[in-house]
Amino acid sequence: MPTHDTNAAGKSQDLPGHHVHFGREAPLRLDCGVDLVDFTVAYQTYGTLNADKSNAIVVCHALTSDQFVAEPHPLTSKPGWWRLMVGPGLPIDTDRYFVICSNILGGCIGTTGPQDVNPVTGKPWGLDFPVITIADMVRAQAMLVDHLGIDKLFAVIGGSMGGMQVLEWAALFPERMCAALPIATAPRHSAQNIAFHEVGRQAIMADPDWHGGDYQSHDARPYRGLAVARMAAHITYLSEQALTRKFGRELQDRDEVSWGFDADFQVESYLRHQGITFVDRFDANSYLYITRAMDYFDLSKRYGGVLANAFKGTSVRFCVVSFSSDWLYPTRESRAIVHALNAAGANVSFVEISSDKGHDAFMLDEPDFHRVVAGFLRGCAEYHGLNRNLGNGA
């Protein structure tokens, strides 16, 4: 089972990039009723904010991604998770837009989460950390946007859990954004998705090294449970076609099966590798809190069960994108968003991109997807007269 650097996931406070502290003067009231009084948000920016601060785009990351969108990850040295999307000349063109990406509340890559020290007790939060929601994450992002002195964002963009944040942004702060791109996402977490998350959480909690969530004081980490959680989740990010194309039933480093439980098949070896590399960069309790936030996500609930009410009278221009082989957030979920936006009279575009790469397609090389995002943003920039402000180097 996993090998690891025992300290890796605990080093997040030392990560490079920007950190800002909030909550001491005005605490963040969380959906669970708790006031968060002292917390840090870690973020990265790319590109230049123009003179009238009208070209800012917030990029919202998915469950296990982070603020290192377009640069090598400081812990793993792997390229940024949206390197194909964010950068000079790319669809989210950092020559034209100022991109902000913060680590989410409850995360473990620099923003306050359960592995950090509770200022009241002086000990790590562990399971005393308050349960957070997608809306809480968005409120923390809005505090960051305030801190940066930006009144109105040009766009908020994100895939998967990032897409949920985009929807929350549009529901909570429609007057603070021009455009919204919820990608490969859903207006609420389905029973199937909750079920998969529960498998992951149970794997973590069944690990004896979890110690009821208090592993930090036992100088332990539930690596095995977290690796299993990651392996199970990773399957849901791919499609059967993608797995078959990549691995089929090919054997790993052998000609015959071992008649045992080694990683005989390439797909087993791949999943084990995914699990092992994940535990070096992620905290198990964070995984519990973030999956919970996704499970609790049900945007229509706050609006009398009618999703359209979340977007009533909105002036935000939406572009909803789904991928044909995504079975975690299938196209019908995106259609539900589009139908609600239509019912609310919103300005909405919607495209289903043909891909056999499953849910992960939104982070992979999908030229049609990239063309749609670039074109949509260009159209919005034209509509809002943003072109006039671009390229002035202000």
Partner: protein, 206 residues
Amino acid sequence: MNSESRKSIRVDLQIIADMIETGSRVLDVGCEHGALLDYLRRFKRVDGRGIELSTEGVKESVSHGLSVVQGDADTDLKDYPDDAFDYVVLSQTLQAMREPKAVLGHMMRIGRSAIVSFPNFAHWRVRLQLGFRGRMPVSQSMPHQWYETPNIHFCTIRDFIVLCAEMGYTIEQSIALDGSGAQRGIGRSFFLANLLGEQAVFLLKK
């Protein structure tokens, strides 16, 4: 923005565009690659939206900054609220609808006006092909063979006028187009329009 290539649009689309007031809100149902929406945006300051079934059409439209939703008019129009648009356009698509009457009903519910264009099944060439050759007609405005056509509900100019009367809609404007693109007001000679019109464009009000 590929605007040079979109300066001129199909003659029936031009007639539709001419019927639309500057600065209005338009929903183009079955907007294909967004040629009409693009024209309306650039020359009539229209706030336009589209619905299109084909992925290619939607991708191209959205990539050009147009607001287009991938969807099926037969099922998705019901999601739009009443009176959300000034005009709802259905160009060369009515005959491909599973329920053209229901679609027309939704168009008039969603919009203050509806603009509908369709190939006229009573055109003399069609009558000749069916009457003398005994073959399903194939023409410029009906380019498909019977076994591969998406068109399942053909109608004639006369049929359409009867349907509008039945549904209680007022025909504000009606134009028949012959094969060379010449226009003829349908009101002036109803019989001739039905015989000579290869396609027709109607502007309807509630």
